[in-house]
Amino acid sequence: MLGLHHYLLQRITALLMAPLVLGHLAVMIYAVQGGLSAAEILGRTQGSVPWLLFYGTFAVAVSIHAAIGIRSVAHEWIGLKGVFLEAVTWVTGLGLFTMGARAVWAVTFA
């Protein structure tokens, strides 16, 4: 159900995300002080290529990573197989990517 390519993609996206998660945690702890506001968040991210790359990479990696993770759980806990399992994997991955890319674009260059 998980082949070598699933395994490698899962580990590579994980390693790619580790520093991004640390960065995200740091930003969250910093930004939450004094409450959150749209102006504060957008002031940081709007028009910024580095933030676009940071969160863009994050969105791509998390889509792949979550799709493979959900695939494991769907097979082991719900018993999905064959085309249904492929469908869940791809819908999760493409769905998260679409929503993630849209969100990243919204806070940077929209």
């Binding site: 159900m1 998980l2 082949g3 070598l4 699933h6 395994y7 490698l8 580990r11 494991s72 097979h75 082991e76 806990w77 018993g79």
Partner: protein, 240 residues
């Protein structure tokens, strides 16, 4: 202080989960779980089916679920597993039940073959016996897994096997790892391909129940991690 009688619940029939029978078994010193099962078969119900052979932890045929944990029943003192004065004994998990405490081991052994857990010889009877360096890193790795007696305790303990029936499981993959590290075995490519398939080593989540419950204190979880590393290296074009 143990009471005079033990309350032994045995899961019966192929549909074991729904048929549970309770037996009063006289308690005595140094009694094993297998002793209790044998007492039931000899004194209470001769139709009870179960497997054993050596009774000393060598043959690997008497493994059963004891209070939800897979164990060699011959090497498990009943006093160590009693819950009050009660114990529940069932057929090994993750394998089809034939009758009562007897499971069909075929899927387990078929997966040994599927994982290329067979010797891939490269020499003929005309050749010299290949020297084995006992101190090489590969031999130490191989030695750490060769005491496996195919009892299927790790296979029954594995939650990944439970949810993913195609998964080859800890015993077969540990065997593949042992052969991969054996200088006499020439099946490297076949083994790496076999453990990279749909039910291969990459399905393992390193839950470690195999290592936690192996009665021989082997470490299949680390062996499988070794396979993941070797298949990765081989894929990335190194390690050859």
């Amino acid at each position: 202080m143990m009471s005079d009688f033990l309350k032994v619940t045995i899961e019966r029939g192929p549909d074991a989960r729904n048929v549970r029978q309770v037996f009063g078994v006289p308690a005595y010193k140094s009694q094993t779980v297998l002793d209790a099962v044998s007492w039931v078969q000899q004194n209470a119900d001769p139709t009870l089916s179960y497997r054993f052979a050596c009774r000393v932890g060598m043959c690997g045929s008497c493994a059963m679920m004891v209070n939800g944990v897979p164990r060699w029943t011959c090497r498990t003192h009943i006093s160590k597993v009693l819950d009050g004065n009660a114990v529940t004994i069932g057929p090994l998990r993750n394998l089809p039940v034939i009758k009562d405490l007897v499971v069909d081991m075929d899927p387990f052994f078929d997966k040994w073959i599927a994982a290329e857990g067979v010797h891939h010889g490269g020499l003929t009877r005309e050749d010299q016996i290949a020297p084995v360096d006992e101190r090489s890193a590969e031999r130490i790795e191989a030695n750490s897994g060769i005491e496996c007696i195919n009892c299927s305790v790790c296979y029954a303990a594995c939650d990944t096997v439970a949810g993913n029936p195609e998964y080859l499981g800890p015993a077969a993959l540990q065997r593949a790892w042992t052969l991969l590290n054996d200088t006499r075995d020439r099946g490297r490519d076949a083994i790496l391909a076999a453990v990279s398939g749909k039910g291969g080593c990459h399905n393992c989540h390193s839950i470690g129940s195999c290592t936690a419950y192996c009665p021989n204190e082997l470490d299949p979880m680390s062996a499988i991690a070794g396979l993941k590393r070797e298949t990765t290296k081989s894929f990335l074009g190194k390690g050859r």
